[in-house]
């Protein structure tokens, strides 16, 4: 028999095809299988042999679906289904997960039935792949295709019945056995990146390409970064360790992935930059959230340059080293909740190339301020240089002027943050001029020597702004970053050792 599966252009199904190909290939069984840019072909005269291969890969990779948990009291080892795996589960028997899906509970029998069905030709059209088939093995369900759930009002074609009222033909049945098998086995894919927040949600990342060859190569490259036996996260802290990262959210997870990929992997040409991000909620109703994230070449370039030339990892050496310190006369404890939020938002702003939002995250807030060590500050300056200044063509001297004014803003904001907030909120260059004028007035009130500020930097900044009017927002954002930075340094407890 010959099975041909063309590319679906569907994020779940294409990853599933790649996964099936890899599982069969890794099993090192003798079989004629080929994946080119747009199609998977399996060719065999030995249907029983193929059934054997399929059922053994299902058995051998079952560990991808579960984690093992040792009971602290009894020492007993129990299996737990990973939180995001959308396969129904029955009551555990002797601590072993019982999947309510025949292909996982009785792989031999089930794959044999599926292959029999695949072999037959029929008239029905599959709602997922559009090919014709004989009979479904199972209805279209979330386990084989996470984007569906049983909601009648969205899953059918309305039509007349007896010319009187609407009847409703659902199409869950129009699901071919090939799509079922491919889709349900995607849970065995050990290259799905995941991060679970207990009691809340799991986030899954699937790479997207318009051809199978690049998808295969990319997933193969990054595979070693992941450890599938951890429950809540599978990005390894270090390549040769089992420990995984506890990133605070989805963007930080992806950022963390990239810095490891760029630093630890000898990648060839293929670097994926398009991702599907799926959120699977806890609880019984599994309505999922979905978004595509397409990273730009320029952001990838910034990450590469920081790692290549400076060995700075944006997440580990910068964002993960950023804290929110609470103003507290008895020391400076960290607000961990807010710190995690800020770290996640910084990761997001960077990945989507939004410097404005990045700079705002660094502003002091009610009750405290963002702080970091001097080493982290140097990393932040390197990031800003590569991410913003190099591109804008702003010279190092001009940066000196921005920093100088940042220092002034920090000093005059010491007891009153309104100027800093006003600066951040400027919506037009006229607003910006008026804030600069206010800064100039405030200068009169401070002891220049004691405060260690350089008043001429304000003249320079005004000149810089005149010469680069079109880029005024960028200059404003840079000024916000540096003002916040100097504010943090200048305040007690702001500098972390």
């Amino acid at each position: 028999m010959e099975i041909k599966i063309p590319i679906y252009n569907d994020i779940w199904m294409d990853n599933a095809v790649e996964n099936l190909y890899r599982l069969i290939n890794d099993s090192e069984e003798e079989i004629d299988i080929n994946l080119d840019k747009t199609e998977l072909t399996v060719n065999t005269n030995d249907k029983d042999g193929l059934r054997g291969i399929l059922s053994s890969i299902i058995q051998n990779n079952r560990n991808t679906l579960i984690v093992k948990h040792k009971d602290k009291k009894t020492g007993e080892i129990k299996e737990i289904k990973k939180d995001f795996v959308l396969i129904q589960e029955g009551k555990k028997i002797d601590g072993i997960v019982a999947f309510k899906e025949n292909i996982y509970s009785e792989p031999n029998k089930s794959t044999s039935e599926i292959l029999d069905l695949i072999e037959k030709n029929g008239e029905r059209t599959c709602v997922v792949c559009g090919n014709t088939f004989f009979k479904p093995y199972k209805k279209l369900q979330q386990a084989s295709y996470p984007f569906v759930t049983k909601i009648k009002s969205l899953s059918g074609v309305r039509t007349y019945k007896d010319g009187n009222f609407y009847s409703f033909r659902e199409y869950y049945d129009n699901f071919c056995p090939i799509c079922y098998m491919v889709g349900i086995l995607e849970w065995l894919d050990s290259r799905i990146i995941y991060r679970t927040f207990p009691g809340d949600k799991s986030i899954l990342f699937l790479p997207y390409f318009d051809n199978f060859e690049d998808l295969v190569e990319f997933k193969e490259e990054y595979g070693p970064l992941l450890n599938k036996s951890e429950r809540y996260s599978n990005i390894r802290v270090n390549l040769d360790e089992d420990k995984t990262e506890g990133t605070p959210g989805k963007f930080s997870t992806l950022l963390c992935f990239y810095e490891k990929f760029l630093l630890d992997i000898d990648y060839e040409n293929v670097i994926g930059r398009n991702w599907a991000i799926m959120e699977v909620p806890f609880g019984s109703v599994k309505n999922i959230k979905f978004r595509m994230l397409n990273l730009t070449d320029s952001i990838l370039g910034v990450m590469k340059e920081l790692i290549g030339e400076n060995e700075i990892r944006v997440y580990t050496n910068l964002i993960k080293e950023t804290y929110f310190f609470i103003d507290n006369p008895k020391g400076a404890p960290v607000d961990w909740d807010l710190t995690r939020k800020i770290r996640e938002k910084l990761s997001e702003s960077f990945l989507i190339d939004d410097f404005r939002s990045f700079s705002r995250m660094l502003l002091p807030r009610k009750g405290g301020k963002v702080g970091y060590s001097s080493e982290t500050r140097r990393n932040l300056e390197s990031l800003i240089y590569i991410w913003r200044l190099k591109k804008m063509g702003i010279s190092k001297e001009s940066l000196g002027s921005i920093k100088g004014v940042g220092n002034i803003v920090a000093k005059v904001s010491k007891n009153n943050l309104s100027l800093l907030y006003k600066l951040d909120k400027t919506r037009s260059i006229e607003d910006f001029w008026s804030v600069l004028r206010e800064i100039s007035r405030k200068l009169i009130g401070i002891d220049i020597k004691k405060a260690k500020v350089r008043p001429t930097s304000l003249d320079e900044l005004i000149q810089l702004l005149k010469d680069n009017e079109a880029q005024w927002t960028e200059i404003r954002d840079l000024l916000v970053v540096y003002s916040s930075m100097y504010y943090a340094i200048g305040s007690r407890g702001g500098e972390k050792k």
Binding site: T125, I151, T159, F165, N287
Partner: protein, 216 residues
């Protein structure tokens, strides 16, 4: 062959739901061919399940603006009852929903002269109010005069193309309904939606008053 173009502007927001997305609602980037035929059938005043327009025309699509997407949490009502009796309350489920912001498309239809004339007049004076995507998503339609169309001499174009091309959004779009008894199934086409570059391909292209268009 005759043909004409009409411009569909969705007044605010719309969603072209992928039929296999029901645990969330995701949208295609362009209106599916089935949807466009639905608008035409609606303008002609055809009855439900009357699929004749499928046989009459070929369709080309050209997105006119950059398609902006956003998302919301939508409360989706669940269907209850048999439809025989009036139903007062429905249970609901919150669901993640994608929508497109004020998209504009130029749609090209081609076929024999009589059919094209009929469709042209129907779109100018539709039998029923026209909407696209959701039934409360009204559209503004601008029709252009029918012209005779032929194969284009230049292969350069900027429109939705058949198959997979580089630098495009690739989607598998519902093309046709196939009715067998009371069951319907869908035929899909894989299409490439251009982002910013012209194609210069091998495909057969038609000339619509100077515009080169691929017809499905």
């Amino acid at each position: 062959m005759f043909g004409f173009k009409f411009r569909i502007e969705v007044l605010y927001f719309t969603t072209f739901r992928k039929s296999t997305s029901t645990s969330l609602i995701s949208s295609y980037t362009i209106p599916p061919f089935t949807t466009i035929r639905g608008v035409i059938s609606n303008a002609l005043g055809l009855r439900r399940d009357d699929l004749r327009v499928q046989e009459w025309i070929k369709i080309g699509i050209k997105p006119q603006n950059c398609i902006n997407r956003s998302t919301e949490m939508a409360k989706v009502l669940k269907l209850k009852g048999t439809g025989k009796k009036y139903q007062k309350t429905f249970s609901s489920s919150p669901m993640f929903k994608e929508f497109l912001v004020n998209p504009v498309y130029d749609i090209y239809v081609a076929g024999d002269q009589e059919k094209i004339q009929n469709i042209y007049h129907a779109l100018k004076n539709p039998k029923r109010p026209l909407y696209i995507g959701g039934s409360d998503e009204l559209v503004d339609i601008n029709t252009f005069e029918p012209v005779e169309i032929g194969k284009a001499t230049s292969k350069e174009t900027f429109c939705v193309m058949d198959g997979i091309h580089e630098n495009c959004i690739i989607e598998k779009i519902p093309y046709k309904f196939i009715q067998a008894g009371r069951n319907f199934s869908l035929e899909y086409r894989t299409v490439s939606i251009p982002k910013d570059e012209n194609f210069n391909g091998e495909a057969e292209i038609f000339n619509f008053n100077g515009e080169n268009i691929f017809l499905f």
